[in-house]
């Protein structure tokens, strides 16, 4: 832990402990709704320790959105980040292809969940409908399975800071599929896994 602030060292230990628990749950139970719920509880617990995540060690975005890696030792395993979005920052409905769990540290973000309503038979065409919505704020978390579809929008007048745990590191994601109801379209962003593995 040479060169780390005492806070960063404590944070590193706390994150490593959480990831050990996540890996143990995944190894024993697999990735199920129940295990995702347990991950949520772990993330809410860590997010309840804001002293580990001081603003001074997590610079704000230059624009409106930024991700800080919390687990630099990750290779092809879990991705664990502190994400920051300024008010108005959004993401259109998308399917990561991999599960994720988010827990709020501060701020507020509206998460909407969707299901696809077309048969997938026309390339580039898709229709979706909203099936759920929640507001992520301190003390709350959300979890998504591998191919769930969600959109995000930071609301209010404060930055939204959250802990975000994914089944892969962001640079190694499977392809991400975005859905655009205003165009009745979908677009697939190619996977970055190949490039990441090649280095």
């Amino acid at each position: 832990m040479d060169g780390l602030s005492p806070t960063a060292a404590r944070r590193g230990e706390a994150c490593a402990a959480l990831l050990r628990e996540v890996r143990a749950i995944a190894a024993s139970d697999g990735i199920t709704a129940a295990s995702l719920d347990r991950f949520k509880a772990l993330l809410i617990g860590l997010a309840a320790r804001p002293e580990l995540f001081p603003d001074s060690e997590f610079p704000m975005p230059e624009a409106q959105g930024r991700n800080h890696m919390l687990d630099p030792a990750a290779d092809d395993g879990l991705g664990f980040y502190l994400t920051i979005g300024l008010p108005g920052k959004e993401a259109a409905p998308h399917d990561h292809g991999i599960w994720c769990v988010n827990a709020a540290l501060s701020g507020r973000e509206v998460q909407r969940f969707y299901r696809r309503t077309d048969d997938g038979g026309r390339p580039g065409f898709a229709t979706i409908e909203q099936i759920d919505e929640l507001t992520l704020e301190p003390g709350t978390a959300m979890a998504m399975a591998d191919h769930d579809i969600h959109s995000t929008l930071v609301t209010g007048d404060r930055p939204m800071c959250a802990l975000a745990l994914y089944g892969y590191a962001l640079t190694r994601f499977p392809s991400v599929v975005y859905y655009h109801p205003q165009f009745n379209s979908m677009r697939t962003l190619p996977s970055r896994r190949g490039a990441a593995v090649r280095g």
């Binding site: 975005p61 230059e62 624009a63 409106q64 959105g65 930024r66 991700n67 979005g85 300024l86 008010p87 108005g88 920052k89 959004e90 993401a91 259109a92 998308h94 026309r122 390339p123 580039g124 065409f125 898709a126 930071v154 991400v176 975005y178 655009h180 205003q182 165009f183 379209s185 979908m186 677009r187 697939t188 962003l189 190619p190």
Partner: protein
């Protein structure tokens, strides 16, 4: 939709489209039938990154990784986040993605 519209010339195709002040270049282009490259359409992936060859825009919120301050200074913009503030000329740099 805003009553104020601007002309946007898309150099890749030669098309000139109307774009309302409160619309984005991408939305106006796609609705006009232009095959503008895009994926997230919310300022996160940079698939719609383009050169702003003439005119001025205002950007909606976007991620640091999609458009840096240096890229902005070099005249690049994100069609999915850029709302026109004058007539524009743009040239997209990406490749259209499959559905």
């Amino acid at each position: 939709m805003s009553a104020v519209t601007f002309k946007v010339r898309i150099d890749n195709t030669g098309a000139t489209i109307d774009c309302a002040r409160d619309s984005t270049i991408l939305t106006a282009a796609v609705l006009a039938g232009v095959k503008f490259p895009y994926a997230c359409a919310t300022g996160n992936c940079a698939t719609c990154i383009c050169e702003l060859r003439a005119g001025s825009v205002e950007l909606l919120p976007h991620g640091d990784g999609a458009l840096s301050a240096r890229q902005k200074a070099a005249g690049l913009t994100l069609a999915c986040r850029a709302q026109p503030r004058s007539d524009l000329e743009v040239h997209w740099l990406g490749e259209p993605l499959a559905g």
